[in-house]
């Protein structure tokens, strides 16, 4: 096993989108218990430096696997279909219309209640899209289509941040 192994190998988890989060958390704790620099505090600075490299690697892998979108992007990359948001803007066509409708809705909302209603609709759509992503990855093995679906989900994620900012303004006490 190397520092350069892929995350699934490092955590000894199956290379697929479906993931037991509790299991990931437990394995991360087990790994950190072995590699965290605190375990080597009495062994000199060189040992701590090496341990720090490993602890960083474990944390990076954990972060990547924990978040569904980054996990999906990682899987696409491992299968030769990097998501490449900067250069590739291809998304499912029907989604582009949805994007515009949501944007308008948010701009026209003037109360927290209106924004919350929009948030509920977006959340529901997001769940459906995630389910579709899981099927594309784990059932259809279609990583090109998964990458497109992922770009759409990244938009939804960014849009939810805009919703949060809107709610911060309209309802600061929440």
């Amino acid at each position: 096993m190397q520092l350069s192994d892929d995350d699934f190998k490092l955590f000894e988890l199956p290379r697929r989108f479906a993931l037991d989060e509790a299991e990931l958390d437990t394995r991360r704790r087990a790994l950190q218990a072995q590699v965290h620099p605190d375990r080597f505090a009495a062994d000199g600075s060189a040992a701590q430096r090496l341990a720090t490299q490993w602890a960083m690697r474990v944390n990076a892998g954990y972060r990547r696997l924990k978040d569904p979108l980054s996990r999906a992007a990682y899987l696409c990359e491992l299968h030769g279909q990097p998501v490449d948001v900067e250069r590739n803007t291809a998304m499912p066509a029907e989604f582009l219309i949805q994007q515009m409708q949501w944007r308008e809705s948010l701009e026209e909302s003037s109360t927290a209640a209106e924004v919350r209603a929009l948030e509920a609709a977006v959340t529901q759509q997001q769940s459906l899209m995630l389910a579709r992503l899981a099927t594309l990855l784990d059932h259809d093995n279609d990583h090109a289509a998964a990458a497109a679906q992922l770009r759409a989900l990244m938009f939804v994620s960014r849009f939810r941040q805009d919703i949060d900012r809107s709610l911060d303004r309209l309802d600061p006490q929440r």
Binding site: A33, V35, H36, D38, F40, D43, A46, T52
Partner: protein, 619 residues
């Protein structure tokens, strides 16, 4: 052939039975040192039996200094030369301070950080803190009649890189080996968690003299994991004192022409009054102003009205941190109160209401941080038998780089687990550009001007290319202490930066040397002697650790590899007996390189066993 030391299973062949390690709470108002003795963490008292050391240093006419209680008692009479609450100045410049004219000090900017003018010259927060740390170190060494292996020093979770580095610099000046910097809320959770013995999600609300932290932690089988943290490094009991003092002076029409002594007297009186109101419904503010005694009565209700804006600010931060963690208040099983300011009934009630549960106050809010730090120090020194304690912390403030237009491009988001490494690629703006200036900042704002500037450096000498063709990879690494190091490399040519990292704050080596020459009271004045001692200690630790590793896992190496490694170990041990620091460092480096593959193999093995062992448990 050298003899392999074989030790008992589960024990390292360490000649010392126990290493003396301490935890230090370097607080705004007072500081403490604690250690684990006979399996229990306890605060170490001074000769008079007091565990609290007021964080006060007074510079005297004869060039000497007073540290602690005697300095604290003199703060009104010698206000300008008695420095208190310097934690609020750590890693800061003059421009960062708010209403500094209300304090009795003359401030100047010096060496990239703010200093106070005293009769003994300009004093930075680093030097003052070093005096306090050295006093505590002395106290610990006297208690044990032995040298310290090292210390864990606590810092507010919300301290940024500049403030943390300043704390480490102060420890270096005081001759302390810092095992780790840990966050104050995390330390408190350790003290409570092991005390309560239960797993779950905890909130730690830490309101001290000058800083506020709120941390959400998950405790699972000895692993303390910070889920999210937030705070305000310039909010604390001192602000409530100031508000009370302002009110008292205003109600007595005394605001004009106050001397330094008057300002300090007003604040001292405010604090005494505030503390009295925690136990009584009425109290009196009384102070000598301009040579005349003055007094005014106030009720707890009035104090609470004055304090409310500050408390409300803390509650806003608490709500934000819950959102960051994507957790609801109901999920929090216990709320721990830390810091002297949490003695205020208003604070306990307000926080209790927010979390809809009574807050936990069973441990002394003044001591709990030091006790937790001592428990951690004990574990790091290798004394803890079960050795299961593990602190997984996060970085509290985002890190980023300046990009075109004075904007911040975030590279590491706040609440990322540490240690963490992240790289970001940039490119050139103009054709033929062969250099790039990199400005590293910390904070949550979008404009560089509103964030903390950490360092600037230049990457020079990469080949000229068309604009947009170069690929410059900037790598951020944050270690377990929350401290940042940055490197940059032009990927095509491989040119690496490190030309000149100019920290925007902080002390260079020559500045530290100067401070030591200026007669810092407890430190070893000779930098060379200290460097030698540090090199020897580092070498000895590595020698011991490598021998222990060989004793445990020689099977991972061939017999030639074992012999070769033992030779390197012997060479390093031999060098450590000598007096040449750079020779020792060279042998340590060789040993480190020679044992890296072995160390990686052991790490690998440990991981496989840990994951496999867990799966066996599941069956």
């Amino acid at each position: 052939m050298a003899l392999l030391q074989i030790s008992e299973p589960g024990q390292a062949p360490d000649p010392h039975q126990r290493r003396i390690a301490v935890g230090i709470d370097l607080g705004t108002t007072h500081s403490l040192v604690a250690s684990v003795r006979h399996g229990l963490a306890e605060c170490l008292p001074d000769a008079q039996g007091r565990v609290l050391l007021p964080s006060a240093v007074r510079y005297l006419k004869d060039g000497g200094r007073e540290i602690g209680h005697s300095a604290f008692d003199a703060q009104s009479e010698d206000a300008e030369n008695t420095l208190v609450s310097v934690k609020r100045l750590m890693g800061r410049k003059l421009a960062d301070l708010g209403d500094h004219h209300k304090l009795p000090y003359q401030f100047v900017d010096a060496a990239g950080m703010v200093a106070v003018q005293t009769r003994a010259g300009n004093k930075t927060a680093v030097e003052v803190s070093a005096e306090i740390l050295a006093t505590l170190r002395q106290r610990a060494e006297d208690s044990f009649d032995d040298e310290l292996f090292g210390a864990v020093i606590t810092v507010p979770a919300y301290f940024d890189d500049a403030q943390r580095q300043a704390t480490k610099d102060a420890a270096q000046l005081a001759g302390l080996n810092v095992l780790r910097l840990i966050s104050e809320p995390t330390a408190a959770a350790v003290a409570y968690g092991l005390d309560q013995g239960s797993e779950g999600l905890y909130a730690v609300y830490d309101l001290g003299g000058g800083t506020f932290d709120i941390s959400l932690l998950r405790l699972t089988q000895g692993v303390f994991e910070v889920v999210a943290t937030g705070g305000d490094a310039a909010l604390g009991g001192d602000d409530i004192d100031q508000a009370l003092a302002d009110w008292a002076l205003a109600s007595l029409a005394l605001e004009a022409d106050l001397s330094a002594g008057d300002k300090r007297a007003a604040l001292v009186a405010a604090r005494q009054c505030k503390q009295a109101l925690s136990d009584h419904p009425q109290a009196t503010w009384q102070a000598m102003i301009a040579g005349q005694p003055h007094r005014v009565q106030l009720s707890r209700v009035q104090l609470e009205a004055l304090a409310k804006p500050w408390i409300d600010k803390t509650l806003t931060v608490v709500r934000q941190v819950l959102r960051d963690a994507k957790l609801k208040r109901e999920e929090v099983q216990g709320v721990v109160m830390v810091g002297g300011s949490t003695r205020m009934p208003l604070v306990r009630t307000a926080v209790g209401e927010l979390f809809a549960q009574p807050v936990l106050t069973n441990l002394n809010p003044d001591e709990v941080v030091a006790l937790g730090a001592a428990i951690q120090a004990n574990a790091l020194a290798g004394n803890a038998k079960d050795g299961d304690l593990l602190l997984l912390d996060v970085i509290a403030l985002s890190l980023g780089l300046e990009t075109m237009g004075g904007l911040v491009e975030r590279v590491i988001e706040r609440n990322s687990s540490i240690p963490v490494a992240k790289a970001q690629d940039f490119t050139t703006y103009q054709d033929g550009q062969t250099a790039m200036a990199i400005h590293v900042v910390q904070g949550e704002r979008d404009l560089v001007s509103e964030c903390r500037s950490l360092a600037r450096f230049e990457l020079r000498g990469f080949p000229p290319m068309a604009a947009g063709a170069a690929r410059i990879r900037v790598t951020f690494e944050v270690d377990a202490d929350g401290l940042l190091s940055v490197t940059a490399r032009e990927l095509g040519s491989g040119v690496e930066a490190a030309v000149e990292v100019k920290p925007s704050y902080g002390l260079g080596d020559d500045q530290i040397a100067q401070m030591l020459k200026d007669g810092f009271s407890h430190a070893e004045a000779d930098m060379a002697a200290r460097a030698l001692r540090e090199a020897q200690v580092d070498a000895q630790r590595m020698v011991l650790a490598t021998r222990a590793a060989l004793a445990a896992d020689a099977a991972l190496l061939s017999s030639e590899e074992q012999t070769e490694l033992l030779r390197l170990v012997d060479d390093a041990e031999q060098a450590a007996r000598g007096q040449d620091a750079s020779a020792i460092e060279a042998f340590v480096k060789t040993l480190a390189e020679g044992s890296e593959a072995f160390a990686a193999a052991r790490m690998n093995q440990g991981i496989r066993q840990a994951l496999a062992g867990r799966r066996i448990e599941e069956v």
